[in-house]
Subunit: 421 residues, 2 copies
Amino acid sequence: MQYSQMSNPELAAEFNELKKQYEELKAQNLKLDMSRGKPAGEQLDLTMNMLKEVIGVCDCKSESGLDCRNYGVLDGIPECKRLFAEMLEVDSDNIILGGTSSLTLMFDYITQCMLTGAGDKPWSQQGDIKFICNVPGYDRHFGICEYYGIKMINVPMLSDGPDVEKIAELVKDRSVKGMFCVPKYSNPTGVTYSDEKIRALAALKPAAKDFRVIWDNAYIVHDFLENPDKVLNIFEACKEFGTEDYFIEFTSTSKISFPGAGVSCLAASDKNIQMIKKRFNTQMIGHDKLNQLRHAKYFKNLDGIKAHMKKHAALIEPKFNVVIDTFEKELAGTGLASWTKPNGGYFISLDTQQCSAMRVGELCKSLGVVLTSVGATYPYGKDPEDKNIRIAPTFPSVTDIGRAAEVLCLCIKLATIEKMM
Amino acid sequence: MQYSQMSNPELAAEFNELKKQYEELKAQNLKLDMSRGKPAGEQLDLTMNMLKEVIGVCDCKSESGLDCRNYGVLDGIPECKRLFAEMLEVDSDNIILGGTSSLTLMFDYITQCMLTGAGDKPWSQQGDIKFICNVPGYDRHFGICEYYGIKMINVPMLSDGPDVEKIAELVKDRSVKGMFCVPKYSNPTGVTYSDEKIRALAALKPAAKDFRVIWDNAYIVHDFLENPDKVLNIFEACKEFGTEDYFIEFTSTSKISFPGAGVSCLAASDKNIQMIKKRFNTQMIGHDKLNQLRHAKYFKNLDGIKAHMKKHAALIEPKFNVVIDTFEKELAGTGLASWTKPNGGYFISLDTQQCSAMRVGELCKSLGVVLTSVGATYPYGKDPEDKNIRIAPTFPSVTDIGRAAEVLCLCIKLATIEKMM
């Protein structure tokens, strides 16, 4: 029976029963963490052989003949650029490799727009500027805007991508300079943008000619299924509209090889590549080419990466399943919450009833279960409806994540009844 | 006999003799490169065993217990921070590790000053700003200023450091925001700053309270001698004057381990570290921790680095010697040129007579010997006296560098006589 259909005495009885379960769990002194989109140790073990590559003198040469140990090459060695080019379905010439973290490539790109512009005056000299943020979304994206004082405008994520109609209205404002998108297995909803949505984004006619979309394809090969979600190549979609300068794509091997020692990458139009390379010429001598060589030698090509990602999926999918199974068992049909069932990526997004998520977070914490800070999936850390919870199931063991999901369900029930009583 | 004392017929005879040598050399189709401050392959071979570190699962743990393969730690793992702290004689808390290239740390720091300031308004909002550049100096430093439109003011390098009296005058101007210094084995002169100079720099009273010195200690352990040059710890020197916020120190392992896969580092006051970490929080997830672990495990401590640098010195010093011996033999007492004799580092600086260096560069090039672009050691690539040539002897073999030095001497003689005739 749904809580909304219960009489007061029925609710009170349910509350007492839940409270009893709560006290039992509390006595167990649990310590479970569902907060971090972090691979588990056994996922990292999958790539250990990569570290044995590049250990002999002759192994340190790129196919171009370059000694990767020495200076040279700003945008990455050819075999590693090719690996990413195949993954992103772009030409190698439109690829630039970075260091470990694609977030740095994004931050540095926005910094460049702020200080030297994106074909118009520097953003920092254009008065108040704004970014569109699809919500719920990724807190690190929002953090860049907040750091630079770029005002953020929430646009809701729908089941097949962002609300493009709303976006099309917003970009009529010249001060709206850009947007963040995670087109595949979006953080945190797990939504993959439909072809229709991507075409509509490619067709946008922003008033600002220096409009830029941070197209963060972080989970491009992070599939669970034999027939995975497919995401339209944004640059292909742009061709029809001549809008390829508006999009800069990013990805990395953080969740393919090692979060602490991966290779990041951006893909962009010829014009944007040229502008970014101009900065690279002054900003650096080059990124870690031995690590690029390790990655290229170990994965070889996209097939190599795909085979590798199946091993990751075999470790991750059971963790997603145990969470979703627990939700189905405990919450299906109750009206207490809704959740996403992603076909890949690192997150499940759960919506409680309005004005409940903070309380659920508190209750979970009191039972030793840490969730991603409630609100973090919204700009400025403020979820206007206080309902979204990001669940990161990858790091704990299957057993632990299952228990954590049970605790979460109990806390959702408790928080809801508390509010009703 | 000096050219200036020769009669016209004597000069003509000398010219003909030199021209004959020139034609003989031209027929040899030489291809020699003295342009790049780049370690030779056999120097890189010295560190190959480092790449074999960090290959077992248990080896990927930092002493802090952190799995270096995974996310976590913005400023670097403790054992690698300690390694740099010992090298720079500062507390580990005042160290932040970067990626492969210290130039990036410098660029990013200046970018931060431009966009969010160094305790005052952002530099980019303070109208025209200026930097002091000690000349001859490092073109990559000048490149950062040029990229951001920061006006550069030349101050001559003397035999024991920059002309601090001139600097003390210049910093009375509030728009002078900073300065580049390479305090040990300076690029390209090889000069090490005397204690007196460093104390005078520490005692500067700039009008701009957001004045910042890029203290690029790139060659801090790159000694040739048993009793190497010692450079005063800048932060110790600052204590007396309370000026530690004016200095940010940088270094890297580029010329210790691998230019293409090293670890960079900055050291700064508590206040500056805090401001830089604030940016790091938004800019990145972390730098390559496995590479930090490799470096820490392989070198262990400063003694380990010093022992390693002796092996580098054994390979480099003979190359410096052959160049300087050739200069002594061919040019000593002629008045045609003067040159530095550094006790370490990567460069020799040679001054021809005025208005000759460009022509020397052309003549060398016509004989297949590539020098660093003449002028590159000055801001905007313009050597006002057209006399400075930076010689980078490390990359070619001893034999090749000896021949290149002979070619250079011949071209200096030719260029001078051409001008006199």
